[in-house]
């Protein structure tokens, strides 16, 4: 790794990180801020929701029994802020951190410095992982503090840690996937948009398959399937196979990124 490059990349991507964090954290806090007022009208809201088609409620991750607890309420919105918005941010950063050098034609400058391709890729991956980790830690802290305050700290913090760890691993997977796609592309034009469309597409694909009675096996094709959102069940904890899926697939993508980038022609 190159310390010089790492520091440069940290600075270069700071604005995107701050924007992403601000959006996710503020939306999360705003939603939790609404909980008290919604709690008072819970019966009315539940009645309203009960009139909606079941498949729609399933699609928007709403379950009536879930709303009776603070963690259930948190989970309903968590899926939008971390698995969806966090993944969009991650794939955006994952594609941008490398493709920017080719799009802005600074790759010629960077690659003519005395650095190995491995140093370039490992430095950029470190910065990418760091920002994804920090945004997830901030989201966890915001979630924990808001849930804690609302419930007078009568919440299962371990369950929150497990939930957010899965969220982080999903974001990391998408970040690395974006990075890998960039490495694979001959020319890095329009790659950022492609990455975002990919996440959104997979999310909606997951949603559609979930509400359909058939083709459930197709869920295994989307990374969202491997999230464990059963936070309200007893003994909710880490499951090794899920961790292996996330860490293993990210690890394979990182390995392949190194492999391909080592001999990639940089076309400027």
């Amino acid at each position: 790794m190159s310390k010089n490059l790492i520091l440069k990349e940290m600075k270069r991507n700071l604005k995107d990180f701050l924007t992403g964090s601000l959006i996710i954290i503020s939306l999360l806090l705003m939603t939790m801020g609404m909980y008290s007022s919604m709690e008072e009208n819970m019966a009315l809201i539940s009645e309203l929701y009960s009139k909606m088609p079941k498949f729609l409620l399933e699609a928007i991750n709403f379950r009536q029994d879930q709303w009776t607890s603070i963690l259930g309420f948190y989970l309903t919105y968590f899926v939008y802020y971390i698995p969806l918005m966090g993944s969009v941010f991650s794939i955006y950063l994952g594609t941008k951190i490398l493709s920017n050098e080719e799009q802005n034609k600074t790759a010629e400058f960077l690659l003519s410095r005395p650095l190995t391709r491995e140093q370039i890729i490992s430095s950029k991956l470190l910065v990418l992982s760091f920002y994804i980790l920090v945004i997830n830690i901030l989201a966890f802290l915001a979630g924990m503090i808001s849930c804690g305050i609302i419930s007078d700290w009568e919440i299962n913090i371990h369950s929150l840690i497990v939930l957010h760890t899965y969220g982080f691993l999903l974001c990391l997977f998408f970040g690395v996937l974006g990075f890998f796609i960039t490495v694979l592309m001959k020319r890095a034009k329009a790659i950022i948009g492609t990455g975002i469309i990919l996440v959104m597409g997979l999310y909606f694909f997951d949603m559609i398959i979930r509400i359909s009675n058939n083709f459930k096996f197709l869920l295994y094709l989307t990374p969202f399937k491997y999230l464990d959102l059963r936070i309200l069940t007893q003994n909710y904890d880490f499951e090794v196979w899920r961790l292996i899926v996330f860490i293993g697939s990210s690890g394979i993508l990182i390995f392949l990124s190194f492999m391909f980038y080592r001999r990639k022609d940089i076309l400027i």
């Binding site: 034609k105 600074t106 400058f109 003519s112 410095r113 005395p114 650095l115 190995t116 022609d265």
Partner: protein
Amino acid sequence: MYAIETNSLTKFYGKSRGIIDLNLRVKEGEIFGFIGPNGAGKSTAIRLFLSLLFPSKGSGKIFEYDIVRQSTKIKQIVGFVPSEVHYYDNMKVGELLKYSSRFYKVSLNSYFHSLIETLDLDLNRKISDLSMGNRKKLAVIQSLIHKPKLLILDEPTSGLDPLMQNHFFDIIREANENGATIFFSSHILSEVEKFCHRVAIIKEGRIVSEDDISSIKEKAVSRVSLILKDNKLKINLKTPGIISSEKINNGNSFLFQGCITDLLKELSELPIEKINITEPSLEEIFIHFYRDENMEGKK
């Protein structure tokens, strides 16, 4: 040991030609010109030297280092000025130079400050605000801060005004006197003639000639354009060395490779209204002198 040595170095972009069977020998300490029209393959060759691209076939060495396997060592001893300068727009000039110098683990010393002074560059200006010429100056300075053993210059004078071009050539000559080998890629023949010891000419991806600059100069030609007072007059010049004459409005235009004094003597006896003697374009030189050699080479 050669500063640059390539053996059948070839690069194809899919089916498109980059360079074909490039065999170059650049001696240590010389100023080597690499000349060819746009699209001939000059930048491809340079990008192969710097491992931005990887060869389809063949091999190359910079000093004793292989261009594929030991590229990091190569980049430690090479300075590079690209034909089009693209740096990080939101950085300031000073920041970019510091950033670049840290990769080589060198400090910005008095030599650096003298370069800044000579090329008159403001360290506090944002790169996005720099003109093309100032970007070129920045590229020249960043290429020299680690005192490279080999300096690769890809169309380095484009964008520099004539005064700055003189400063630039002085700086490069000084680097050469201090031991640096210079690889100078250009499409301007006169620039290479003035500056280089030896030259290779590349056309359509192949080297068509590699020679001392004196041999190239022997092939020096001029384009002569004449406008006659009487446009009905037909002229038939006898001076040897006239190539491919063509009719233009009220006169003639031809390439001339011979004794210019003899030609002027003959022309002085004709009713000439205007005469213009210029350096022909590189393309013209290629067409008339190197096309046949290239064909023979292919056979």
